[in-house]
Every structure is written in C-alpha cells, then in structure tokens.
C-alpha cells in the first residue's frame, strides 16, 4: 500500500506543530531560562538548549515512526523527508513565537516571557538570527530520524549512551567535588572530565564512546559471559558473589566519607521515603488498602521521639534515642490500629477519603494552639537530642544538650548509617512478610475480600496487622527524620508527603519491595540532587506519572503478580490455545 504524499506531509507538519507548541510551553513557564544557567557540555550546550533540541529531535523520531509501515520495509527517504519537515516546522513555530514576541508584549500575561529569555533565544541579535531555527530544527529532526532508522544493534547503545551521558552531565558538579578532594591523579581526572555545572567536551566524548562500546560489547558477549560464569565451579561462584557483595558493602560504608554531607543527606532522605514507601507498600501494595494520610504515622513516630528525647521545654522525658525508637514504633503501631479499626468496613474510594481525613487531623492537631502546651503548636519541638553510641551525659537543664561520650550521630554523614541500615532491615522484613502466610492472606484480601473470608482468612485481624505494620515502618522513618533535622514542625507533615509516597510506590511498581527503593531513588533522590529544577518538581512528577501509566503501567521494578496481570495475554493465551488444540487432537 502506497502512502499518499500529502498524508505524509500532514503527519510531519502536525508533529512539528505539536513539538513547537511544547517548546513554547517550556519557554513560557520559564524552564528554558532557568535551565540555560546550567551546562550540559561546558560552554557548548546548556540544559536549556538541550531541552529545546530534544523537542525537535523527538519530533523527528515521532514523524519517522508515524510514516513508516511496520509491514513494509523501511523507506528511509520518506522517513527522512518527514523527519526533516517535522524538525523544520518545530523551528518555524519557535521562530514565529520569537517574532511575535518582538511585536507584542507577552509579559503582561506570561511572567516568564522576560527580555532575558528573548536575549537568550535570539542570541542577543534581535530578529536577525531567527532564520536559524528552521535550519537547526531540520538538523535535529534528521538526527531523530537517523536514530530511528539505525538498526537495533546500534540504536540501543547510542540512545543508552546519550541518556547516561546526559545523567552524568546533570550530576557532574557532584562528581567533580567528590573527585577533587581525592588524591592528585583522581583530582586531575575529575577536572578533566567534569566541569562546574556540566561535562567538559572531552568528558562528554569519553563517556559517550565508553557507554556505546560497553553496551555493544555486552549485547554481543553477555550470553557467553553468563555461560562462562556458569562454568566456574559452585564454590567459585559463591566466592565471586561474596567478593561482589563485599565491594558493594564497602562502597555503602565509605560513601558518606567520600561524598560529603550533601549526598549523604540526599541518601538519608531517600532512605526515609523508602521506609515510608515500604510501610505503605504493606497496606496498599500487599493488602490493597489505599491510605492517603500515611504521613500521620510518620508524624506520630517523629513526635514520640521528639517528646521523649528533647532537651527543649517540651521534652517530657530525657531518654536516649535507642530507648525512644522502639517506643515510637510501638506508638505508631497503636495509631495504625486506631486508624484501622474505624475504617475496617470502608472500601475503595471511601477508604481513600477517610484516611486522607485522618492524615489532616493529625497534622492540624499537632500544629494547633489547643494542643500547643504539649506539642509546641506552630513553634514545634526543638532541641532534639542526637543519637549517641556510648554513654550519654546527665540532663542538666532545659536548652542544654546532653554530652555524648562516644560516637554522636550529629549530622547527615553519621545518620546516613542509621537510615540506610534501617531501610535495608525493613526491606528484608518486608520481603519475608510478603512470602509468609500473612503475606498470602494480604494478597487474597487485595484480590477479593469476600472469597478471602470464605477461605478462612480473618479479615479484621489481617487488615489491622497491615495497618499496624505499615504504620510501624513509617514511624521508624519519622523517628530518624526527627534526629536528622533536630526539630519537628507540624508544617512538615503535609499531605504532599503522603502523595509523594503513593507516587513512588506507583512508579516503582505496586506491591514490589525493590520497586519501592527504585521509586524512592527516582522520585525523591533525583529531584533532591537537581536542586535547580526543584521549582519544576511537580511538573516532572506529573509528567513522570502520566508517562509511566502510558508506557510502563506495571512500574519500574514490578512484582510478579502485576507483571502477569498486565502481560498475561503474551504467554497465557497462546499456551491455552495450544493446549486446547492438543487436547482436541487427542480426542
């Protein structure tokens, strides 16, 4: 079937218009301007240029894909025309936008349409240079098409290399700081590869080439390597695993010493969200009970530790952190049961609303003037004693911290160990729970409550246990958060924290323990590291969630059951048809 010429042109132009509009959108919300202060490759290309180019390149890819017919052979010429046209259209739209902005003042409506944005877009040359946009657009569109046309063998390594180099460029400032503090040679290498805010040109080329070659080598040799590993005698295999594990453990242990407090703090926050995620994963992922007020348990854990250990005026007791944590976990469990009991019979949407209310009640009560004599109200609880390995000095008087004779977990570099160890321990417990009898009962309730009950599962007990254990994990997270920050304010227990936790579970993969960790790294860790973009954090969240639901609804690291549900038609149906046929043949 021949594709009509005008149809092809229309697809290309439509794609180009769409990506042009997206580019304008990115300009008007101020993203391009903010991002252009940051380099991807030092002095050559900024992040702002990069996202504008990315719109044109993806226009090329999309146009090429839309104009190729999977049943026919690839038609490079057609695809190239379509890709180029889409790129040109993108460029024309941007150029038109710049031209328009010179005539009328867009700033009265769009605050971000500032003169500096247009200086940036016009290379400070007025309208003299805007003819370049269609040209650059065409080049980018062609680049996208060529990427699409490349055989799989090359395309995958190249896209992977672009992606990884881009990630390295985003974090190059961090790498640079870490490497410069090391011995001379490492410091030199660091300066050579990483610039202040982006990769150096040579760094970018080195990383790109390295990833491409490793990736191509791996796809060619991975089966051989795996066979080779299988050929090593069993004892040797265990040995290799032990060595790998030891290296990993050493890296985890040494990381905060090497990386400095900023990265340690980010990892602590990721671990705390992972703790909350693991907790909610029990109620939501395992037992299917949606809880939108999960931050309440985090708050309970935090306030319990605060009240028990603070040397400020609100400190009720002055016990050590190690005594306070188990109490905090128990109190959180009690609150879990306290929330669970009234909502036991509530299902689905109604449960979401009921729990949402619970979360808000806890926050409002903790921050209220009414309870201010106990919880400090809006002033919060300050002066929380840091954990101390060793003996803790006597409590002298209010506002004087007790002296720690031994190792004090004073800052993020030390609390890192506490948080990471807790997250690993809780992840291990969650994995064991998932495979236990209780885990199976949760799964049955998630699938069908009535049938579960008819099979002998005690709904009340099982659901309450889900709430209590979930709350316990979140309470532990809250306890560690308190000592990290050294104070508690009700305002930090916002609804948005609960929503973050739900999002990270969805992105990671509902009901999957490794998924929670991956989700926490992706949704919490990356935005924390990229402080410049934190203004657009929720834009990214929204975009990430929509893209996940469209492209990978089972999550980044899905559980077995979810994977089966979403992909059962790939294998299950076929085998059914096959076996029906074979049984017919037998008959």
């Amino acid at each position: 079937m021949m594709m009509k010429k005008d149809y092809l042109i229309w697809i290309a132009i439509k794609t180009g218009l769409l990506s042009g509009v997206i580019a304008i959108f990115l300009c008007l919300i101020g993203m391009v301007e903010v991002f252009s202060k940051r380099d991807v490759i030092e002095k050559i290309i900024t992040l702002g240029d990069f996202i504008l180019l990315a719109t044109a390149v993806s226009a090329g890819v999309i146009a090429a894909r839309a104009t190729s017919n999977p049943e026919q052979q690839k038609q490079p010429l057609k695809n190239l025309i379509a890709g180029a046209l889409a790129g040109i259209t993108t460029g024309v739209v941007i150029a038109a936008f710049i031209g328009l902005s010179q005539q009328i003042n867009l700033r009265s409506v769009f605050l971000s349409a500032s003169p500096s944005l247009f200086d940036l877009l016009t290379f400070k040359g007025g309208t003299n240079w805007i003819w370049m946009y269609p040209a650059i657009g065409m080049a980018a569109g062609l680049l996208g098409t060529i990427l699409f046309l490349l055989p799989e063998k090359f395309r995958q390594p190249i896209t992977r290399a672009i992606f990884i180099t881009f990630l390295l460029a985003l974090f190059s400032g961090l790498f640079r700081v870490v490497m410069i503090n090391q011995s001379d040679n490492i410091a030199k290498a660091g300066k050579y590869l990483f610039g202040q805010t982006g990769l150096t040109l040579s760094g970018a080329i080195i990383f790109f080439v390295a990833v491409v070659s490793i990736s191509m080598f791996w796809s060619a040799e991975s089966t051989n390597l795996q066979k080779g590993f299988a050929r090593i005698p069993k004892k040797g295999q265990t040995g290799v695993r032990v060595v790998v594990f030891a290296i990993l453990a050493y890296m985890v242990l040494m990381l905060p010493q090497v990386s400095g407090p900023f990265i340690a703090q980010v990892i602590v926050i990721v671990s705390l969200y992972a703790l909350m995620g693991l907790g909610l994963n029990i109620t939501l992922g395992f037992a299917g009970l949606l809880d939108l007020g999960f931050v309440a348990f985090f708050a309970v854990g935090a306030y319990t530790v605060g009240l028990l250990t603070s040397y400020g005026i609100f400190g009720l007791q002055h016990v050590s952190f190690w005594v306070a944590v188990p109490i905090a976990v128990l109190v959180s469990m009690m609150f879990g049961a306290f929330l669970g009991l009234p909502v036991l019979g509530v299902r689905g949407d109604y449960l979401a609303i009921a729990t949402l209310g619970f979360g808000e009640i806890v926050r409002l009560l903790a921050g209220s003037d009414f309870l201010a004599p106990f919880f400090g109200g809006p002033q919060g609880i300050i002066g929380i004693q840091k954990p101390c390995l060793g003996t803790l000095g006597e409590f002298v008087r209010v506002d004087v911290p007790r002296i720690c004779n031994g190792l004090e977990f004073a800052g993020p570099k030390e609390i890192y160990y506490l948080a990471v160890a807790s997250a690993i321990l809780i992840a291990f417990i969650a994995l064991r729970l998932q495979r236990s009898r209780l885990g199976r009962a949760w799964m049955a309730i998630r699938e069908d409550e009535d049938v579960a009950e008819a099979l002998g599962i005690n709904l009340i007990q099982t659901k309450l246990l889900a709430y209590m254990l979930g709350a316990a994990f979140a309470g532990l997270g809250g306890a560690i958060f308190t000592v990290l920050v050294g104070s508690i304010f009700a305002t930090s227990m916002q609804l948005i924290v609960s929503i973050n936790v739900v999002s990270l579970i969805i992105v990671g993969g509902m009901g999957s323990v490794p998924g929670v960790i991956v989700g926490a790294i992706a949704l919490i860790g990356l935005p924390e590291l990229l402080r410049e973009v934190s203004e657009y954090r929720f834009l990214f969240y929204g975009a990430a969630l929509i893209m996940m639901m469209l492209a990978k609804p089972e999550g980044l690291w899905p559980s077995q059951a979810t994977l089966r549900e979403l992909h059962h038609d790939d294998s299950g149906e076929d085998s059914e048809i096959a076996s029906t046929k074979s049984s017919q043949a037998k008959a």
Binding site: E447, A454, G456, H568, G572, E576
Partner: protein, 237 residues
C-alpha cells in the same frame, strides 16, 4: 444424622427481607440441591450458612454445633467450604497459588499435599496448568479451580453456587460428574442451581425456593415429576 440444619432462618439486606424463615436439613453424605429463579434467595442462603451474612432470626447447626456464634473465617475451620458464584478465582495468582490459598485454614504440609493430590486426581487439567495464571484459564477450568480450591480445606460440607453458570454443555456434564465423584468420596454437598434438570439428576433431595421461602421440599425423583417444578423450572408444559 443431620450434618447441617437451618431452622427458620431470616436474613436481611438492610431492610429487604431476603430469606423469610428457611428450614433446610441435610444428612451426612447427601447431595441436596436448592433450585429457584433469579432473586429467590439461593445465593443468600449459601452466604448465610458460610457466615458472610448474619441472619436476624433462626438457628444454623453444623453437626449439632450452633455455628451462628462463629465468624465467617472460623466456619471454614469447622468444615464448611464454599465455591462462590461466578467462580471467584484469584485472577492474578497461578493455579497452584489459588489452591494453596484454599488450604489457608489447614496448617500441616502433609495435609496440603494430600489435598492437592486429590484435587489433581479429580481435575487432571489443573495439574497440566498448575503454573498458569488463573485469569487466563477458560471458564470451565476456572470452575474446576474454584471447586478444587473449595476442596483444599478438606471440608465435610461443600457449598456450591451455580457451578454450571456460563459453561458449555459438555463442561457442565464434566463438572456434575465430578460433583458426584466428590460426594462418593464422602463430602456432603449443597448445590445451588438454576439448571434444575441437571441438579435434580444428581441430587438425592431438593428444595424449591421462591422469593425467600421454601415452597416445595421432596426427593429429587418426586421433584422431577412435580407439576409446579416441571412448569416453572424444567420448561415442561
């Protein structure tokens, strides 16, 4: 000796009087069927026996023990198991996992493997498909799985809700043959069916339920000859 006895049971959905004083008696080793049209209260009766609904009035005895004092999940431990209507298998779990769920109330490993072996002997198809996800099974296989899961708790009374629903005639026959087989192995069966002819052909006795009341109770042979039953449920004039 009577194994299951319902005495003047009244069950409500809110203000709707669904069961208006039902009395049923089942002897050990029998197949008893409950026939009736849509909304007659057949499923409600089963849900009341298994404890998912609590009657406002009346008594239910299992082996002489009053089971109204137990929760639904405890009744399973007393030896009553239900195969729900519309099969109700756990669609995302494998056949094997579904069966293991059925044995949730049984702790011993040996008992589990013994019951599993029994189910696989009754339904060889399930053994072939034990690693397959239940949602991808055909309707007949799902019914087999639901029945097998009901047997995994090794019940003395098996409550079956509309096992023939939505199945091809060949499969209906297969399922009913298996029900007889299960009964011969010593399980008492209470069978709820819209397909009255099939049900009466394997049952010892039957009750006819109409808008929450039992209007006829007799042996299966006599019910087949009863003009009311013939007219209303067997499609004969």
């Amino acid at each position: 000796m009577s194994i299951l006895n319902l005495d003047n049971v009244h069950t409500y959905y809110g203000n709707i009087h669904a069961l208006k004083g039902i009395s049923i008696n089942i002897e050990k080793g029998e197949i008893v069927t409950l026939i009736g049209g849509n909304g007659a209260g057949k499923t409600t009766t089963l849900r009341t026996i298994s404890g998912l609904l609590k009657p406002r009035e009346g008594k239910i005895h299992l082996n002489g023990d009053d089971i109204l004092k137990y929760q639904a999940h405890e009744i399973v431990y007393k030896g009553v198991s239900m195969v729900p209507e519309g099969r109700g298998v756990f669609a995302r779990l494998t056949v094997l996992e579904n069966l293991e769920m059925g044995a949730y109330s049984r702790n011993s490993k040996e008992e589990l493997s013994r019951n599993m072996e029994r189910v696989f002997t009754l339904f060889p198809r399930l053994k072939e498909r034990r690693t397959q996800v239940a949602g991808t099974l055909s309707g007949g296989e799902q019914q087999m799985l639901a029945t097998g899961r009901g047997l995994m708790s090794n019940p003395s009374v098996l409550l079956m809700d509309e096992p023939s629903m939505g199945l091809a005639p060949v499969l209906v026959e297969l399922i009913f043959d298996t029900i007889q087989q299960i009964n011969k192995e010593g399980t008492t069966i209470l069978l709820v069916e819209q397909n009255a002819l099939m049900a009466l052909s394997i049952a010892n006795r039957g009750y006819v339920l109409q808008t929450g009341e039992i209007i006829i109770s007799d042996t299966a042979e006599n019910l087949k000859k009863n003009p009311t039953v013939q007219k209303a449920y067997l499609g004969m004039e």
